[in-house]
Amino acid sequence: MSALARLHRPATVEEAVRLLAGGDGERTRLLAGGATLVAMLNAGLVDPAELVSLAAVDELRGIGTLPDGGLRIGAMTRHRETAADVRLAGTLAVLREAAARIANPVVRNMGTIGGSISFADPAADYPPALVAADAAVEIAGPQGRRRVPAREFFVDWYATALGPNEMVTAILLAPRAPGLGSYDKLYRVAGDYAIVSVALSVAWRDGACARAGLAVGGCGPRPLHLDEADELLRAGRLGAQAARRAGELLAAAADPLDDVRASAAYRRRVIPRMVERALAAARDELSRTA
């Protein structure tokens, strides 16, 4: 039987952090949308003594525009909202596409971006998308707020840069640039976690690639990303040769597991194909729109 004794519903981030810090370490957990934590609670995989629900914290809700034109996605923003936000266009479309591919409409209506990335399942859809878009994660803790690049936030299997008594408050995105973002995943059935996923964000200006971000999900402890692959794609203007080389580099750097979805060897074989497919689609889109 569950040991859960209390459920707090603070109204502010500061209060949530205080409750977290005042609790009994791992026995006090944050509750966001519940899509993962309540499922684990039901299955007896976690046994917290106290939960701090973030449902009543207004600051964590919704997507806002920052003074510099960038976007701030509150940690409690549901996947459904992210999947529908037209401001996530151009280089930032990768995030909208990833959100639209999570699970099913009901889970997208419950699950939150903060909860998802804090759980940090490397086969989940947001981690590679945030890495490709070079987003930052805003974190609150007893010492106040700090920012961590998404590329440093995911550190290992189900492990993040969050310290004790810290929580994710928002995702911060630089202003969108003209170009494109895309997210593709290979799956057993629609809505499942990825076997391999490829997230791409490309800034394109005057027929040249100003910036490319490419990340692979489902193939190791954290989203797979190589500065060298991004630079190859940028310098090679997303060409077929650059795509092939980037795919090979990523496959060589991947550290996938054999699991119920696919073998590690299969994943390594598929990475270059998925990368080439994503880049071919990107070239096609740019030739039509740019």
Binding site: A3, A43, S53, V107
Partner: protein, 157 residues
């Protein structure tokens, strides 16, 4: 250990007192505390869709929602869909087109389709299939469920 928490939930328009363990889900509260057993417990981890309810008009899994975390959100269960004991148009369409086999998934299907028709009275096949993508039918009776929804959409045209 495991004290019960008191919550006041708004369920199908009525305020209801719920006394349940802190770990009780909305699904536990509906079925075991309030006797509203129309909402089904299938997988209990958010995959099958049998426990789907509306929270403030939006789809939610009752099994992934803690009863004590529902707060002020209004809950609508399958018992609240028809009103006055009658059938809703979605329910009538499913009955008329034989879109029910064992019936275990049906409450969740009705809720999912009700939410769809509330925002789009004339959904096409793609929208219907998308709306049902979070509901598993172990009898694999999908074809008739989709057809029933298409007929209902056709009547609105």
């Amino acid at each position: 250990m495991n004290p019960k928490l008191h919550s006041v939930l708004t369920i199908n328009g009525e305020r209801r007192d719920v006394l349940a363990p802190a770990s009780a889900t909305l699904l536990d509260a509906l079925r075991s505390v309030l006797g509203l057993t129309g909402t089904k417990r299938g997988c209990n981890h958010g995959v099958c869709g049998a426990c789907t309810v509306l929270l403030d008009g939006k789809l939610a899994r009752a099994c992934l929602t803690l009863a004590a975390d529902v707060g002020e959100r209004a809950v609508v269960t399958i018992e609240g869909i028809g009103g006055n004991g009658g059938l809703s148009p979605v329910q009538r369409a499913l009955v008329e087109h034989g879109a029910i086999q064992c019936g275990f998934c049906t409450p969740g299907v009705v809720i999912a389709l009700s939410e769809l028709f509330a925002r789009d009275p004339r959904p096409d096949r793609g929208a219907i299939r998308g709306a049902l993508s979070g509901n598993l039918c172990r009898c694999s009776g999908y074809a008739k469920i989709v057809e029933a929804a298409e007929r209902l959409a056709g009547e609105a045209r």
